[in-house]
C-alpha cells in the first residue's frame, strides 16, 4: 500500500513534467501550420508559460524560424527543440497580423518577469491589448514585484484592461474605474467595447468615458497646437534662406526650392557614404547638416557670381532667370539620381512618439524639426548681428556706395550673403528629407509657401518671417479639421493676398523714408 502510494507519488512526480513536455512539443509543432493554427499554437504557448518558448516565438516573430518539409522546426540551422543541427532544406515560416497579435499576448505572459524594464513594459503593453481575464493573476503578481513606476503604470493599465474582460461584474467595475483614470484613446475604445458586452455597468462606463473625453479634449488642443507649430517650423526652415536672399538682398531666387532639394540630396549622399561605416552611420544625419550647408552655399555663391549679379536692379529678370536655373538643377538631379524617390533612413532617436506630461503624444521627428528650425533661426540672427560678415552685410544693404568707399568689397559680401541664404536652404533640405519625399521636385512644393511667408512676415525682418511662419502653420492646422487640407491651404493663400493689399509691406514693415523707395 505504502509502496503503491510511493509509486503513485513518484509517477505523478515524473508524469506531470512529462505531460507538459509532450504537450509543449505538440503545441510548438502547431507553429508550422496555417495562420489560424499558428495563432492558436502561439496562444497555447503563452498559456503554458514555459520559458523555452521565448526563443522560438522570438525567432518566429523575426522570421528566423524555419520549417523542413517534414514539419520539423529549426532556428538558424539548429533544431528548435533539441538544438541539434537541422536538415538544410527548410523554408522560413511566414506570419500575418493575426499571428503577430497572438505573439504579443504570448510575449506579454512570458516576459512579464523579465529582468529588463523595456521588455516588462512591452510585455505589459502586449497584455493590455491581449486583455484576457487569465492575465489578471499574473499581472497582479507582477505589480507586486514591480518597482519601476513607468512599468507599473503600463501594468496597471494592462490589469485594468484584463479586469474589464473578467466574468465577475465586481472585478469589471474595478477595471472600469482604473481605466477611467487614464487619458488614452485605446482605454476609451476598450470601455466602449465593454459597454456593449456588459450593459449592467453602462452608467459607470459612461462616467469613465466622459472623464477620459475631458482629458482627451485638452490633449487634442495641445496636439493641434503642436501640429501647427510643426508645420510652422517646416515653413520657417523653407522660408528662412529666402528671408536672407530676398528680404535682405532683394534678390528673387526662384531656384530657392532647388537649393532645399540639393540639401536633401546631400543628406542621401552622406548617408550612402557612411553606410559602410557602422559606428559612423548613426551620425549620418547630424553630419549632413554642415555638409548640406557647404554644398548649397557653394552652389549659391557660384550662382550669384556667375549669373545673378549681372541682373542687380532688375528683379523681374532675376525672377525669370533663377526660375530657369531651378529647372536646370532639377533636371540635372533627375538625370544624376534618377526620378525615383530616394530613401532617407531616420535615426532611432527620431522615430516614434514621446508622451509629454498630460499624455500629449508628440512625434519625435517633428519635435526635432521644431527645435532644429529654431536653432537655424538663432544661428542666422547671430550671424547677421554679431559677426564681421553680418556687419559688412548690413552696411552694404544700407548704403552700397558708402560701404565700398569704406573699403568693404561689396561684391564679395553679396556673394557671401547669397551663399549664406542658400546654405540655410540646404540645411532646411536635411530636415525636410525626414518628412517628405526626397525627389527632384521636392523644392517646387515649398517655393510659393516660402515667398508667402516672407512677404506676409514683412520683407527684411527675420522676426517677421518667424512669426509669419508659425502663424500660417497654426492657422492652417486650425482650419484643417473642418475645412480639409486643401481648402485650409487655399483659405490661407487668399487670406495672405488680402492681407498684403491691406499692408503691402507685411506684418513687420520698415516705416518711413527707408520704405519709400
Amino acid at each position: 500500500m505504502t509502496r503503491f502510494l510511493r509509486l503513485l507519488a513518484v509517477f505523478l512526480l515524473f508524469a506531470a513534467p512529462l505531460r507538459a513536455q509532450e504537450g509543449f512539443e505538440a503545441v510548438v509543432a502547431g507553429l508550422a501550420g496555417g495562420f489560424a493554427a499558428q495563432a492558436e499554437a502561439v496562444e497555447r504557448l503563452g498559456a503554458l508559460g514555459d520559458p523555452r518558448a521565448v526563443p522560438i516565438l522570438r525567432a518566429l516573430s523575426e522570421g528566423r524560424l524555419q520549417k523542413s518539409p517534414e514539419g520539423a522546426l529549426a532556428i538558424d540551422g539548429r533544431d528548435a527543440l533539441t538544438g541539434a543541427p537541422a536538415p538544410t532544406a527548410t523554408e522560413a515560416i511566414r506570419i500575418n497580423n493575426r499571428v503577430r497579435g497572438a505573439l504579443r499576448g504570448a510575449f506579454g505572459r512570458l516576459e512579464l518577469a523579465s529582468a529588463r524594464d523595456a521588455e516588462r513594459a512591452a510585455a505589459a503593453a502586449g497584455l493590455f491589448r491581449a486583455r484576457s481575464p487569465e492575465n489578471i493573476q499574473i499581472l497582479e503578481d507582477a505589480l507586486g514585484r514591480e518597482a519601476n513606476p513607468g512599468v507599473r503604470a503600463t501594468m496597471e493599465r494592462a490589469l485594468a484592461a484584463s479586469r474589464l474582460a473578467a466574468p465577475d461584474a465586481g472585478v469589471r467595475r474595478q477595471g472600469i474605474l482604473m481605466l477611467g483614470g487614464t487619458a488614452s484613446p485605446e482605454a476609451r475604445g476598450l470601455l466602449l467595447e465593454a459597454r456593449t458586452a456588459s450593459p449592467d455597468l453602462a452608467p459607470e462606463i459612461d462616467a469613465a468615458v466622459a472623464a477620459i473625453d475631458q482629458r482627451l479634449q485638452l490633449r487634442r488642443v495641445a496636439e493641434t497646437a503642436f501640429q501647427g507649430l510643426s508645420l510652422g517650423s517646416v515653413l520657417l526652415l523653407a522660408a528662412l534662406g529666402l528671408a536672407v536672399t530676398f528680404g535682405v538682398m532683394g534678390v528673387i531666387n526662384m531656384a530657392h526650392g532647388e537649393m532645399v532639394m540639393l540639401g536633401a540630396y546631400t543628406t542621401v549622399v552622406v548617408q550612402e557614404a557612411f553606410r559602410g561605416i557602422p559606428w559612423l552611420f548613426p551620425w549620418a544625419l547630424p553630419l549632413s547638416v554642415p555638409a548640406a550647408f557647404l554644398v548649397t552655399a557653394a552652389v549659391g555663391a557660384g550662382l550669384e557670381r556667375g549669373l545673378i549679379r549681372h541682373l542687380y536692379g532688375r528683379p523681374l529678370e532675376t525672377l525669370l532667370m533663377t526660375f530657369g536655373v531651378g529647372m536646370i538643377l532639377q533636371q540635372a538631379v533627375r538625370l544624376a539620381f534618377g526620378a525615383q524617390n530616394r530613401e532617407v533612413i531616420s535615426p532611432a532617436w527620431m522615430q516614434g512618439v514621446i508622451t509629454l506630461p498630460g499624455g500629449v503624444e508628440v512625434t519625435q521627428n517633428r519635435l526635432w524639426i521644431i527645435i532644429f528650425s529654431l536653432l537655424v533661426l538663432g544661428l542666422t540672427v547671430a550671424a547677421i548681428r554679431f559677426t564681421r560678415f553680418g556687419l559688412e552685410m548690413r552696411a552694404v544693404v544700407q548704403n552700397r556706395r558708402i560701404a565700398s568707399t569704406m573699403g568693404i568689397r561689396t561684391g564679395r559680401v553679396d556673394a557671401m550673403t547669397f551663399a549664406f541664404g542658400s546654405g540655410i536652404a540646404g540645411m532646411a533640405g536635411v530636415a525636410l528629407s525626414q518628412i517628405d519625399n526626397v525627389s527632384p521636385n521636392l523644392g517646387t512644393g515649398y517655393i510659393i509657401d516660402s515667398f508667402m511667408v516672407v512677404v506676409f512676415g514683412g520683407v527684411g525682418s527675420l522676426a517677421g518671417t518667424m512669426i509669419g511662419a508659425f502663424t500660417l502653420g497654426l492657422v492652417n492646422k486650425l482650419l484643417e479639421p473642418w475645412a480639409g487640407a486643401v481648402l485650409a491651404k487655399i483659405a490661407v493663400l487668399v487670406g495672405i493676398m488680402l492681407f498684403i493689399q491691406r499692408r503691402p509691406k507685411g506684418l513687420f514693415a520698415l516705416k518711413g523714408r527707408a520704405a519709400e523707395q
Binding site: 511566414r94 491589448r129 484613446p185 501640429q227 524617390n341 531616420s346 518628412i435 487640407a485 486643401v486
Partner: protein, 414 residues
C-alpha cells in the same frame, strides 16, 4: 508559317532563354515592312517615376519577340514618345503615333486622366491601346484593352480580407485617398459594399488629400481617434504614389502597428516601397494581381527576362509591368491568330485569348475588354517585398461596370 511563329507562353519563354543564351544570332525576317508598336509612357515629369519601367517592359518584349523571328515573319519595331506627364500632350502624341508613325498597336498611359485624354483620338482613328494599370472602371472602349484590375479585382477582395478573421476582423474602415477619380469612385463602390455587409456609415471615415500631400499628422491622429471608438479599425488607402512615403512615415512615427490598425493600399507596389524604410511598416497590406514574390516558374522566367534586359538584378518588377507583359503576349498571340495587325481583326481575335501570366494563373481576355485576374493580398516585409497572405483560388472576371453604382443597373451584361 503559323506553326513556326505560334506564340505560346512556352515558345515565348524558350525564346527568351535562347535570346539570353546566344544574343549574337540575328533572326532572318521574311519580307514585309516592320510591325510598329507605339509606346506612350511619360519619361519626364511627375509620372516618369512609375512609367519609365513600363516603357522598358515593352522594349524588352519587342527585343524578345524579334529574337524569335518577329511576328508574322515581320520585324517588330518600337516607337517611343514622351508625353512628359502632360495630359494634353498625351492626346497630341497619340495622334502623332497613329497618324505620323502609323503604329499598329500602342502600349501606354498610367493615370486615368491620360487615358481619358487619348481615348477620343484612338476612337476617331480606330487605333488599339493596351492600358496596363488598375483603375476605377466605369469605362469600356472598343479601342482599348484593359489589362489592369477593375475595382472588383482589387478593392473589394482586399476589404473582404480585412473583415475576415485572418485579416483581423475589421468592423470600422477609414477610407483615405488622394483626391481624384480613382479613389473617389473606388471608395464610393466600397462604401456601398460595406453597407451591404452591414457596416453603418457611422463606422466609415472618408478623407481626401491633394496629390503629393506631405503633412499627414492631422489625418493620422484623426484616424487614431476614429479607431478609439471600440471597434477593430482598418485603413483602406487609395493614396497615390508620392504621398505614400510621408503617409507611411507618419504611421510609423505615430506608432500605429499593423496589428492594431492594419492598412491596405491599392497603389503601393514594390516600386513605391523603394523610397521607404519599410521596417516600421511590416504587416501593412497591399492588394494587387501580382507580386514580385509570387512563387512559380512563370514569374521566375519573367524576373529573369527583366533582370537580363535591364542588366541590374536590384530592379524590381511590379503589377503594371506584369500587366504590360501579359497584354503584349496576348496581342502577339492575337496577331498570329488573325494573321494580320489590322485593328478590327486583332480585336476579334483578342476575345477569349488566354495567357499563363507571371501571376501563375491563366488569364483570359473577355468581350468586356478586361482580363480575368487573380487577387492577391501581400504584407509589407522588412526588405521592401511583399509576403503573400491571401490569393483567390482562381482568376476573377472583371466587373468594369460596378454593380454597386446604381446607374449601372441597366447596362451590366452578365
Amino acid at each position: 508559317m503559323t506553326a513556326r511563329f505560334q506564340l505560346s507562353r512556352r515558345a515565348l519563354l524558350a525564346g527568351t532563354a535562347g535570346a539570353l543564351a546566344m544574343p549574337a544570332i540575328r533572326p532572318a525576317f521574311a519580307q514585309g515592312a516592320p510591325i510598329k508598336v507605339g509606346v506612350l509612357h511619360s519619361l519626364s515629369g511627375t509620372m516618369a517615376i512609375s512609367e519609365t519601367a513600363l516603357r522598358d517592359t515593352v522594349l524588352m518584349m519587342v527585343e524578345n519577340i524579334n529574337a524569335k523571328g518577329g511576328l508574322l515573319g515581320r520585324k517588330v519595331e518600337a516607337v517611343v514618345v514622351d508625353p512628359a506627364s502632360n495630359w494634353p500632350l498625351f492626346a497630341e502624341k497619340a495622334r502623332e503615333l497613329l497618324q505620323v508613325h502609323k503604329v499598329d498597336v500602342t502600349f501606354g498611359c498610367w493615370t486615368s486622366v491620360s487615358r481619358k485624354s487619348v481615348l477620343p483620338v484612338f476612337e476617331e482613328l480606330n487605333g488599339l491601346l493596351f492600358y496596363p494599370v488598375q483603375y476605377e472602371g466605369e469605362e469600356q472602349s472598343k479601342n482599348v484593352f484593359y489589362t489592369g484590375a477593375a475595382p472588383n479585382q482589387q478593392a473589394i477582395p482586399a476589404v473582404e480580407y480585412l473583415m475576415s478573421e485572418d485579416g483581423g476582423g475589421a468592423k470600422r474602415i477609414a477610407l483615405l485617398g488622394t483626391d481624384y477619380v480613382y479613389p473617389r469612385t473606388t471608395n464610393r463602390i466600397l462604401r456601398a459594399f460595406l453597407n451591404s455587409k452591414g457596416i453603418a456609415d457611422a463606422d466609415i471615415m472618408e478623407e481626401y488629400t491633394p496629390f503629393g500631400h506631405s503633412d499627414w499628422q492631422g489625418i493620422v491622429s484623426r484616424v487614431k481617434r476614429f479607431a478609439g471608438e471600440g471597434k477593430k479599425t482598418a485603413i483602406v488607402s487609395t493614396i497615390n504614389g508620392d504621398a505614400n512615403v510621408p503617409f507611411y512615415r507618419e504611421l510609423g512615427n505615430q506608432g500605429i502597428k499593423a496589428e492594431d490598425i492594419p492598412s491596405v493600399a491599392f497603389s503601393v507596389g514594390e516600386e513605391e516601397l523603394a523610397g521607404i524604410d519599410t521596417k516600421p511598416l511590416v504587416g501593412h497590406l497591399a492588394a494587387w494581381n501580382y507580386f514580385m514574390s509570387v512563387p512559380g516558374a512563370p514569374n521566375d522566367e519573367f524576373k529573369k527576362m527583366w533582370h537580363a534586359y535591364i542588366k541590374n538584378d536590384k530592379r524590381v518588377t511590379n503589377d503594371p509591368m506584369e500587366a504590360t507583359y501579359t497584354g503584349f503576349a496576348m496581342w502577339a498571340q492575337a496577331v498570329t491568330q488573325a494573321k494580320t495587325t489590322a485593328v478590327d481583326a486583332v480585336r476579334t481575335a483578342m476575345y477569349g485569348q488566354k495567357v499563363m501570366a507571371p501571376s501563375g494563373y491563366e488569364e483570359q481576355m473577355w468581350e468586356n475588354h478586361h482580363l480575368s485576374k487573380p487577387v492577391m493580398i501581400g504584407e509589407i516585409q522588412g526588405d521592401g517585398q511583399f509576403n503573400i497572405v491571401y490569393k483567390t483560388p482562381t482568376a476573377i472576371k472583371a466587373e468594369n461596370w460596378s454593380p454597386f453604382i446604381p446607374e449601372n443597373a441597366s447596362r451590366r451584361r452578365g
